[in-house]
Amino acid sequence: MRHGKYPLLAAFLLPPLALYGYFVVSPYAQSFLIAMTDWQGLSPAYEFVGFDNFKRMVGDEYVWNALLNNLWLLVLLPLLTIALGLFLATMLNVGGRGGRSTVTGVRGSGLYKVIYFAPQMLSVSIVGVLWAEVYNPRSGLVNSALRAVGLDGLAKVWLGDPAYAFWAVLAVMVWANVGFYVVLFGAAMQSVPRDIYEAAALDGSSRLNTLVRITIPLLWDTIQVAWVYLAILALDGFALIHVMTRGGPNFSTDVVGLRLYTEAFGDYKWGYASAIGVVMFFVTLSVTVLSLRLTRRERIELS
């Protein structure tokens, strides 16, 4: 449409493409090749083994166990985070009905938002170290609090018992991420015309009803995006688990990312680890596509 297009394209695209292709695309591409070898990662020697690594994976119960945990995360992490995020955002943005006749956020909502968002600022390793202490069965915050109110029976060995470890880790993931979605949903709610909420309030619609009937449908686009983002996160989950439990106890918190890491840096089976990575890539891909399909709704697409 404009003249002078190609000089600009060249100047604007070639440097970033070169950098990206050289430092990002090519190493990733190499991992596809490595997945077809028996490379052990400590010497340059290797042999092509075709799809052997993938066949091995089919019979590897530890990979399946990890994958299953990932799938649980995949369902639960988005569900819990989005539910909690929606609830908190509703409270903060349209939850207050202070005075006689207003639809507003609760008092102090600005402060809440800052606090909720803060974990987003911390690196995963800090979050992990912190929560390992919070879950300490003897002196941790959780059990101390439970004992303080007389609920000694509920004080568990959170990270040391396969029955609870997974849930304890899941809770931390929700904790670390929910603030982002509170802000995200809050912003989306602000764009919903006020009069819709007023009309609902006029009709005597309860908050829950308003949330289900009005907010969620109107925010569907945003929720969908949140879902995909959280799904990608759930399929990774490596960093936090690595810091908190290393997959234990008894593999109850193992995830595919950790399998990959262990095979690569623990057992030096880089060919196999790369194959796991390749599978991870395709799983992430299909989940992304699938969740977009499943949450598809009537909408106008112009492209």
Partner: protein, 476 residues
């Protein structure tokens, strides 16, 4: 919200599609991490002329690239050894770096064919030694072992080492690893606490259980363990079995013999140890504590016993109360039928040092080891880090902290009955992942002794059947 020309949804969908295409295509464009020639090899190595003073033929002005694991021992001891080297070879430039994650930093260098000349391969990020050996990445240390000692006249390096040192670093008969720190594994307790309460360390299992009962009655948990690393508890179990059934038990485990983990000795040991689980002699919450947390509970006097190696004392230095006086003792005997006496304890050379096969200054790396293994170097090490070295007699005359003194005594009492196993060195995965998980279940009371041993055996069988692990055998 529908006015956008491209929604996020389609973006992600197409990104997905493009990812598939772009990956392999780009691979064609780039050079690969794999398959480069292994240029260099012997041709590029620094070599000097051998002489009496320079038995390994070190090139005097060749730079030496040293990587030290910056963990429990710190790095000061290593700097002192390097200073000794520089004294001998003033023209050499020593590049010292101390890292905490050996694997992440060094693995690419191994692949690249540009490893350092000397590596202290230790810590949680230790590179699997079995794997390194299998891939020919390590230099054979025989020239070092056969070289004369730096300051013990008339002796080869090999002859100055504590028994078992060379074996602990050998794979299929060849020595690739120098384990430098001598470690004693046993059961630790506070002698102050025991004196105060009038308790005495029990020599048989029945007495041990009776003592546990007394301790519990006194309001103290008899045991705690490094819950997030439950393999620490596999050590006393296996030790008990070895004392019961003889060194053969360990050999079978190391050689991945079928049924090695479900042998009668292992059964007897697991049954015995199950008692402390059944009778709730383990500090509540232990399975959820990491090594630091549990050891601290123990230092605070909330538990009486803990299983650990002799690094425990320096690891706990910051939080050990004054006069705590930790002491180490062997595992109790199961009964009079035991093949080894009560005093038998697991002692082994640990803290691996290696010279990579592709090191440019391979001779320099070994020469630095020769300096470490001198009497002077070893004494300096013991003085700096309060740990024993593998050099025989180097701890004599040194003032050792309380715990280490008990370790030295335990070793002396154990004498030729000392034992060890190496399956954890051959097959890191078996101990660190599989046996570890099985111990976790067992000591938190979720599995029976039979189930515990079956889980361990399943892990061993898995490794045995997996052709991608190189198998090692030992016969002594």
């Amino acid at each position: 919200m529908a006015q956008s020309d491209l929604t996020r949804r389609t973006v992600l969908r197409r990104a997905a599609a493009a990812g598939v295409l772009a990956g392999p295509a780009a691979g064609l464009l780039s050079s690969c991490a794999l398959g480069d020639d292994t240029s260099g090899d012997t041709s590029g190595k620094y070599e000097g002329t051998k002489s009496d003073k320079n038995p390994l033929g070190v090139k005097e002005d060749a730079p030496l690239d040293v990587v030290i694991f910056n963990g429990g021992f710190g790095e000061d001891y290593a700097k002192a050894h390097q200073a000794m080297y520089k004294e001998t070879y003033p023209k050499a430039e020593v590049k010292h770096s101390a890292v905490v994650e050996i694997n992440k930093e060094l693995q690419p260098r191994f692949v690249d064919g540009t490893p350092p000349d000397f590596v202290n391969n230790s810590g949680a990020g230790q590179i699997d030694l079995g794997g390194l050996v299998a891939q020919g990445a390590l230099a054979d240390l025989t020239p070092l072992l056969d070289a004369p000692s730096l300051d013990v006249p008339g002796k080869k390096v090999r002859e100055t080492l504590l028994p078992g040192t060379v074996e602990s670093g050998s794979f299929d008969g060849k020595t690739y690893v120098l384990n430098y720190a001598y470690t004693v594994y046993g059961i630790w307790y506070s002698s102050k606490l025991f004196t105060e309460k009038g308790w005495e360390y029990a020599k048989t299992w029945d007495e041990h259980i009776a003592l546990c009962k007394k301790i519990k009655a006194a309001g103290i948990a008899p045991w705690t363990y490094q819950g997030k690393h439950p393999r620490y508890m596999s050590w006393p179990v296996i030790s008990t079995a070895i004392k019961f059934g003889g060194p053969q038990v360990a050999m079978a485990i190391d050689n991945l013999e079928p049924g090695a983990w479900t042998s009668d000795a292992m059964k007897a040991a697991a049954e015995a140890w199950h008692q402390i689980v059944k009778d709730k002699y383990i500090l509540e919450g232990s399975p959820g504590l990491d090594h630091k947390q549990s050891q601290t509970e123990w230092c605070k006097g909330n538990a009486a016993f803990i299983s650990c190696g002799s690094w425990l004392e320096s690891e706990q230095k910051a939080v050990t109360p004054e006069g705590f006086n930790m002491a180490v003792a062997p595992t109790p005997s199961l009964g009079s039928a035991d093949k080894l006496p009560f005093a038998a304890i697991r002692g082994t050379a640990g803290e691996p040092f290696v010279v990579p096969a592709k090191a440019k200054n391979e001779r320099g790396g070994m020469e630095l080891m020769r300096h470490m293994l001198s009497m002077k170097g070893a004494k300096d090490f013991t003085g700096k880090v309060s740990s024993l070295s593998v050099v025989a007699g180097a701890a004599e005359g040194a003032t050792l902290p309380f715990g280490l003194t008990t370790a030295v005594k335990a070793l002396a009492d154990s004498g030729s009955n000392g034992f060890n196993w190496v399956y954890n060195v051959y097959y890191r995965k078996l101990e660190r992942e599989l046996v570890d998980a099985a111990c976790g279940e067992f000591f938190s009371g979720r599995t029976t002794p039979a189930e515990f041993l079956a889980a361990c055996q399943k892990g061993a069988d898995l490794i045995a059947a997996d052709t991608t692990f190189k198998k090692y055998k030992r016969s002594a």
